[in-house]
């Protein structure tokens, strides 16, 4: 198992390199010049633009620029932002806890809600309860975050005054203040995620319920709940773990929109800003972080497979 994990880890290195080349090329192909954006509109002077381009090293050939970035990055130096001239790593690192908290809360909340709902939907399939749950799942997927988020703000913050409309409070300022500000973003981000998980839980439970070993267990006279928990749920876990891990990408993507709506200082918002301002050093770091997060999620899934199903052995 350990060997397998180490092998996977080594494989991620070429993945990250390819990814960084991709980002580098994409941002260069995108229309829009970072130097134009660094100068106020009425001060777009060719001479100043040339100086600035030289100062940022943007007058070098592409491969030189990339090579310089990659050799520095390999030594742990991610450079500095074109726009703010601040070092990249502290800029990104300060935002990681926010995104981590938001996605962790949304994932935990969504799985906690989706698991029982999916099981109920499967066990009571083709009843009113099942229709209601499937209806919720369809609706949850159909509501865009920018719409749902603003609606939640108008209802709970502006009309009812129950929760603050936007902003972030670090847990250091009191866990209550922190959570009060995370409730609406968590719901906004968690609902589409929960919708996907509900459908998967329902489907995989339906699959397992019809399997031979469940029928045998029932025939042996094992109690109803014991069959559900020990035989059905355990068997249904593998596909559920898969979807939870795979959908981490959706969660990180959703965080981009959610953080922007609720003015949360997270990595997602930084990603949007750096794309819009063509701030390549920041964007490279953000993308690498997101890729590592996805890889970590898949790692966790691999480990959980072995736990959920003893037949899974990694060579």
């Amino acid at each position: 198992m350990l060997r397998f994990l180490v092998q996977r880890l080594i494989l991620t290195v070429p993945m990250l390199v390819l990814l960084s080349i991709g980002i580098f090329l994409m941002l260069h192909l995108a229309p829009g010049d970072v130097v134009t954006l660094l100068l106020p509109e009425d001060l777009q002077n060719p001479q100043v633009a040339r100086d600035l381009r030289h100062q940022l090293g943007l007058d070098q050939p592409l491969y030189v620029q990339y090579w310089r970035w990659v050799t520095h990055a390999a030594r742990g130096d991610l450079g500095y932002s074109y726009r703010s001239r601040a070092y990249v790593w502290p800029e990104v690192a300060a935002r990681i806890p926010v995104t981590f908290e938001l996605t962790a809360l949304a994932m935990a909340g969504a799985v906690a809600a989706a698991f029982p709902l999916g099981v109920i939907g499967a066990l009571r399939r083709n009843t009113a309860a099942d229709a209601l749950i499937s209806g919720f799942a369809a609706l949850g997927l159909a509501m865009p975050a920018f719409w749902l988020g603003v609606l939640l703000i108008l209802l709970f913050a502006v009309n009812l005054h129950w929760l603050p409309p936007s902003g972030y409070a670090p847990p250091g300022q009191g866990i209550g203040a922190n959570l009060r500000r995370m409730i609406l973003p968590t719901i906004t981000l968690g609902i589409p995620y929960a919708a996907v998980v509900v459908r998967f839980v329902r489907l995989s439970v339906l699959d397992v319920v019809a399997a031979d070993h469940v029928r045998t267990a029932r025939a042996k006279g094992v109690g109803r709940w014991r069959v559900i928990v020990w035989h059905v749920l355990r068997g249904a876990l593998i596909p559920i773990i898969t979807v939870v891990a795979l959908e981490t990408g959706r969660l990180l993507g959703g965080a981009v929109v959610t953080e922007t709506i609720f003015s949360l200082p997270g990595v997602g918002r930084l990603a949007v800003d750096s794309v819009l301002s063509r701030d390549l050093p920041i964007l490279q770091a953000v993308t690498l972080f997101m890729a590592l997060a996805l890889i970590a999620a898949n790692f966790a899934a691999d480990v959980l497979y072995a736990w959920a199903d003893p037949r899974v052995k990694y060579q």
Binding site: A30, P31, G32, D33, T36, L37, L38, L39, P40, E41, D42, L43, Q44, N45, Q47, V48, D51, L52, Q55, Y80, S81, R83, S84, R85, A86, Y87, E91, A94, R95, V150, I153, L154, A157, V158, H161, P164, P165, S166, G167, Y168, T260, I261, F262, S263, L264, P265, G266, R269, L270, D273, L276, S277, R278
Partner: protein
């Protein structure tokens, strides 16, 4: 249309130039300012650097006036007043300037803001290695000399009237030379000025907290203990925060919410007429708009009064030329007589004159914003009435900026906010050497006149030249003039002492909160 009526009344009384406060008189108006309290400010946009020579956007400028003091201040009449420079003289030939500084001013780090510090700040911008966009603006400066600790002498290579006005913003904010040396390229993250507030905490994308600077050079100020700035990119969310009481003041109230906020007894508003103006830039170097008659045809076809009511809910006035009423004596009301009113007959006549009697079609490029989309749709409808087809194409801001700079467009909706000297608006756009003349507009007479306005002092002659320039530009129609918009700052009833300055920047040194 009560809003339009009110605007017309204001215009008729000549009061459109004045600043209109909301109808609700503040409870604390006239009372003595109270000390203490923290002001929570919502701003559209964000901050990447607080180093003045490198700033790029208006939200950064908003914070500068709290952390820094400019060499010169701007008055509500949009003229230059004293700042860190107490008094100044300009030699008759305009080549030598002498600044007398406020004595005893200190930076937040305790170092003196004397003539040597001012010289160091100006030389930093002039140094190509700094990479500041303001270098070209200050390029007429040949030499900076500290004659004594409170006297700075500037020698210019040519007279440049707009220079002093630039010292009211970016190039005029004095940074502690010690701090600049200490932090190097990271200085923008650790700003040290002479302003009323010092940097206390900066959580990126979340808030900037400033604390009262007890040794501020304007004695007895500021009244506030601190200011918290929050960047809010979504207008709806920003207004929700104001309504929910988690903000005390917001930089702009979107047009469609202005009425609701002015009528809400919890809030008061500050209206700054004519402080932003959208326009259509026409590329005069490429078909179809290399044809003057076709540019004029579009100008006649647009119904500005309907734009004011339908898109800006009455919070604007029609524009008949490029010079907004914020420029006071430079604004020429006569433009409404010689400019383009809504006149489909004349539009058709101009189409015929331009060789396109049955109309023509072109691409109107816009930025993907709800406001610009609504504006473009309405203009498209106006143009359709005379047989002109506008195909609307929306772009993300960076891409659009690239198309504008590269002059790869036929017509594009742009927007402008006033620079403290009218030169910043007129030379930039209408001189063939202007930095934002993406229209490729060139008129030799206009070029000549614009050069002359840069060398003669403010006064009757300069005003006369600008009236002449405006008339020529209107005739050539490189822009389709649309409207001058009123910006509205929205705030709680308890906030007082905010000066109304037409650059729409909030300055908090004498602001106070009623307990």
């Amino acid at each position: 249309m009560p809003l339009l009526t009110r605007r017309r009344l204001l215009g008729a009384a000549g009061a459109a130039l004045a600043l209109a406060r909301s109808e609700h008189p503040a409870r604390g108006a006239g009372a003595a300012p109270a000390n203490g309290g923290t002001l929570r400010v919502g701003i559209t946009g964000g901050w990447s650097t607080l180093d003045p020579p490198h700033y790029t956007n208006v939200s950064e400028r908003q914070i500068f006036y709290s952390i820094y003091s400019p060499l010169f201040s701007l008055t509500p009449q949009f003229t230059i007043g004293p700042g860190l420079v107490q008094s100044w003289t300009v030699s008759p030939d305009g080549l030598r300037l002498r600044f007398q500084l406020q004595p005893g001013v200190r930076f937040h780090d305790g170092t003196p803001c004397d003539a040597a510090a001012v010289r160091s700040n100006i030389e930093r911008i002039l140094d190509p290695a700094t990479g500041s966009a303001f270098r070209t603006i200050l390029s007429p400066i040949r030499e900076v000399r500290a004659a004594n600790p409170v006297t700075v002498d500037l020698a210019l290579s040519q007279p440049f009237t707009p220079l002093l006005s630039w010292f009211t913003e970016g190039p005029g904010f004095m940074s502690s030379p010690d701090a600049v040396r200490k932090w190097g390229a990271q200085y923008g993250q650790h700003p040290v000025g002479t302003g009323p507030f010092t940097m206390a905490e900066w959580v990126k994308d979340d808030h900037i907290t400033l604390r009262r600077f007890p040794a501020f050079w304007q004695r007895g100020l500021p009244h506030l203990d601190g200011v918290v700035y929050r960047p809010l990119n979504d207008e709806t969310v920003k207004m929700a925060d104001l309504r929910a009481g988690s903000l005390d003041i917001v930089d702009t109230v979107p047009a469609q919410q202005q009425r609701a906020i002015s009528n809400d007894p919890r809030f008061q508003t500050l209206v700054l007429p004519g402080t932003r103006w959208p326009m259509i830039r026409l590329n005069t170097a490429a078909p179809p708009f290399n044809n003057k008659a076709l540019r004029q045809a579009v100008s006649y076809a647009v119904d500005r009064v309907q734009i004011v009511t339908a898109i800006y809910f009455g919070q604007a006035q029609p524009a008949y030329g490029p010079i907004s009423p914020v420029y006071r004596e430079y604004y020429d009301p006569a433009a409404s007589r010689y400019g383009y009113g809504h006149d489909p007959q004349k539009a058709r006549a101009k189409l015929a004159e331009g060789g396109q009697p049955n109309g023509f079609s072109f691409t109107l490029e816009i930025f993907t914003s709800p406001e610009q989309t609504r504006l473009a749709e309405l203009i498209k409808a106006h143009l359709a009435e005379v047989g002109i087809t506008a195909n609307i194409q929306a772009y993300e801001l960076t891409t659009l900026q690239d198309r504008i700079t590269g002059k790869r467009y036929q017509a594009v909706i742009g927007s402008w906010t006033p620079r403290p000297d009218i030169d910043g608006t007129m030379y930039n756009h209408f001189s063939s050497r202007g930095n934002v003349n993406s229209m490729s507009y060139r008129n030799a007479t206009v070029d000549d006149l614009l050069e002359r306005t840069r060398t003669i002092p403010n006064g009757a002659e300069r005003i006369r030249l600008y009236r002449q320039i405006q008339r020529l530009v209107v005739e050539d129609a490189p822009w389709v003039f649309l409207i001058f918009e009123n910006l509205m700052i929205g705030m709680s009833k308890d906030v007082h002492g905010l000066p109304a300055i037409p650059d729409a920047i909030m300055r908090f040194q004498s602001t106070w909160i009623e307990a």
